[in-house]
Symmetry: C2
Subunit: 138 residues, 2 copies
DNA sequence: TACAAGATAGTAATTTTTTTCATTTTCATT
DNA sequence: AATGAAAATGAAAAAAATTACTATCTTGTA
């Protein structure tokens, strides 16, 4: 059985071609696409994919913990399926998002936060905000 | 001159009653309200406030760096004007958001990230994801 | 292979956010 | 205090994003 399908099944999600395509697309891209972008990217190879299916799938994948949703500017929510923890650097002006390695180990932090909140904290996301070089020069 | 008005003027924003009200509301609340929630909260005291004005103001305040925008579930963007850095703890299931103190000092991290990216990083936001006690017990 | 649960496309409906624009307000300068 | 340019406002309309619905398929299991 193909690997992606197996992962989905382990999460009690059926491995439909659409879901596999959406998940693999997100795993493969370094961008942080919106639902619309995902749809546009996959439509050629999946001609009868519908936007509603994209939304339903990012929701189910998010609930399963396979991707993160976040929002920064006025372009709808963005999705990110990178499994390793990393930080996002966001330009306040143009809303570009870069990935960088975490500048610190978060394992200890997660333990601390778990104790503080009585929750089982599994993920830490860090966002750094500033103005990028391009926008400075304008 | 009143303090909030002064802050706004320093950011080249005109200190209109609506803008002052929105900003002070966000400074004062521990919640992470959506535009709609802000509107509903201020409408009684500002009867002819319009939702469009709320949107325009959170945008201008965000561009000025006076507040942060983020999104978690399917209820529109949330806004947070807390000036001190803090972390958000998010329940994956019910989307509740708690504020906690930062579990680590981020000054060093920001310097590191500034160097890595050639940006002037001024803010770090941390999000911890997990499942809260209430949702565990369901 | 058949079956039940789950997923899909397509569309409609809803919700959220942005734009438009005529009018009003702010604020630095007289 | 009056002036005027730039910015902000409210109301309505428009656009964009998201969800709901339904009849029809598919998946994964037995």
């Amino acid at each position: 059985m193909e690997n992606t399908a197996k992962i989905l099944n382990q999460k009690n999600l059926k491995a439909t071609p659409q879901r596999i395509a959406i998940y693999e697309y997100l795993l493969g891209t370094g961008d942080h696409p919106t639902a619309e972008t995902i749809y546009a990217a996959l439509k050629p190879a999946h001609p009868n994919l519908s936007l509603a299916t994209v939304y339903k799938n990012v929701a189910s994948l998010k609930d399963a913990g396979l991707l993160m949703e976040f929002s920064l500017g006025g372009e709808g929510c963005r999705y990110d399926a990178r499994t390793y923890e990393h930080a996002h650097v966001v330009c306040r002006k143009c809303h570009k998002v870069f990935d960088i390695d975490l500048p610190a180990d978060t394992a200890e932090h997660k333990k601390t936060v778990s104790l503080m909140t009585n929750m089982d904290i599994d993920t830490c996301m860090m966002y750094y905000y500033g103005v990028c070089e391009d926008c400075w020069n304008k």
